[in-house]
């Protein structure tokens, strides 16, 4: 398989106006990915599937990732002229990353037996601009997985043939895989001897995700 940079260059050459960005991955797995802009995503996907040297005909895995708005405080050492003397000052810089939802596609090639190529699509925000284009017309295998992402994350796939909830029931309103999801009242609740344990767990903060 070609390197990711080469693929990126070829996409940009083949699909006019496509914005493709490399997303590095620092872990030992070294699986870097490509972020594609929403308006050209289908064309890029089409190209990836049809190109005789890439032939990514097998969309193995589709999943969502929720990135809520985060405020990162970091201490940055800067040099500044204080009273004419250059001194290094520690400065607390707050960076605010707006929240968004991400859809990750893992592509493989059955014909040429290579992969994975990881595509990422991102929504504008987490509340009202949650559309990304559906890649189901390109890879049929995305159908149920995109439905699942819609169900659990609330990403709306434009162009999906049958966008309904798949794992939760139709009347359900929230999206449980989001990081800020709050469990509704459990109407089927009944007391068990296990309750004390759960209360304790919740007190120690273990019940919440990511703590």
């Amino acid at each position: 398989m070609e390197t990711l940079a080469q693929i990126k260059a070829r996409i940009e050459a083949a699909v006019a106006g496509a914005v493709v960005e490399m997303v590095p991955n620092d872990s030992p797995s070294g699986q870097h990915s490509l972020w594609v802009d929403n308006s050209h995503a289908v064309a890029v996907a089409q190209f990836l599937r049809e190109d005789p040297e890439l032939r990514f005909d097998f969309c193995s895995n589709v999943t969502g990732v929720d990135w809520p708005e985060t405020e990162r405080t970091e201490k940055v050492k800067t040099t500044r002229l204080v009273d004419g003397v250059e001194t290094s000052v520690e400065e607390i810089r707050k960076t605010k990353r707006p929240g968004f939802l991400e859809v990750v596609y893992h592509l493989y090639s059955v014909a040429l037996k290579h992969g994975p190529l990881i595509l990422r699509l991102r929504t504008e925000n987490r509340s009202d601009q949650v559309q990304v284009p559906s890649l189901t017309p390109v890879w049929r295998g995305c159908e149920f997985q995109e439905r699942e992402v819609f169900d659990l994350f609330g990403v709306v796939f434009t162009g999906h043939p049958d966008l309904r909830r798949i794992l939760m029931w139709d009347e359900f309103t929230d999206h449980p895989m989001r990081k800020d999801y709050v469990e509704p009242d459990d109407y089927e609740y009944e007391p068990t001897p296990h309750d004390e344990v759960l209360v304790k767990a919740r007190r120690s903060g273990r019940g919440e995700a990511g703590t």
């Binding site: 296990h194 344990v197 767990a201």
Partner: protein
């Protein structure tokens, strides 16, 4: 010809029909409460607490470090640490669990508590006939029900129990050597040396 495969299949079932009367290999099931299949040595069902000696309360190896409670994936363990301390098998003063409950209705027999326990105190039992009519309390096992002697552990998992005893013996020997060294140092220095801190949770 039509029917050849069907006749082959019929011959196969007939062979099994008669075979099941004569061949042990074919008839693998046993009439359960009357006959039982032997359990493998590694078999695990639900956790129990090991105690040394005869008194289950004194000999309990658990020091209420609560690691298993933290690591338990379905959170079925509930421990309350004691206020006071009692000597453990090494003679060191340790906390002990004032309450140690395991909700076996929630436990999924994953053995992670056993793996993370640094004191060789929680092990997996092979008892599985635990059905009860009491939905709310029947499977909530308390410290007394959970405590079982080391001899029981030796009976159900002899290899593991021997290894576990060896680990404890080595630690005890280390501790004694350390105490001896400390005592010698103390004698030499003739000054009060600090007591070795008890191994605490993580």
């Amino acid at each position: 010809m039509l029917g050849k495969g069907i006749i082959k299949g019929l011959a196969e079932t007939a062979r099994n029909f008669f075979g099941s009367f004569v061949s042990e290999r074919r008839l693998t099931t046993v009439p359960y409460p009357d006959a039982r299949q032997p359990l493998a040595e590694n078999t695990r069902q639900f956790p129990f607490l090991v105690y040394d000696g005869d008194d289950w309360e004194q000999g309990l190896r658990c020091v209420a470090c609560q690691i298993c409670e933290k690591e338990c994936p379905p959170q079925c363990i509930y421990i309350v640490k004691s206020k006071d301390k009692k000597p453990d098998y090494k003679g060191q003063m340790q906390f002990y669990p004032a309450v140690f409950d395991i909700d076996l209705a929630v436990c999924m027999s994953c053995q992670i508590c056993v793996e993370v326990c640094p004191f060789e105190s929680i092990k997996m039992d092979t008892e599985f006939e635990l059905s009860t009519a009491d939905r709310f309390g029947g499977l909530l096992f308390h410290k007394k029900q959970l405590a079982k002697p080391n001899a029981h552990y030796h009976r159900i998992h002899p290899t593991d129990a021997a290894a576990s005893d060896a680990v404890l013996a080595a630690e005890k020997a280390k501790q004694e050597a350390k105490a001896r060294a400390a005592a010698e140092a103390k004698a030499k220095a003739a000054a009060p040396a600090p007591v070795a801190p008890p191994p605490s949770a993580s």
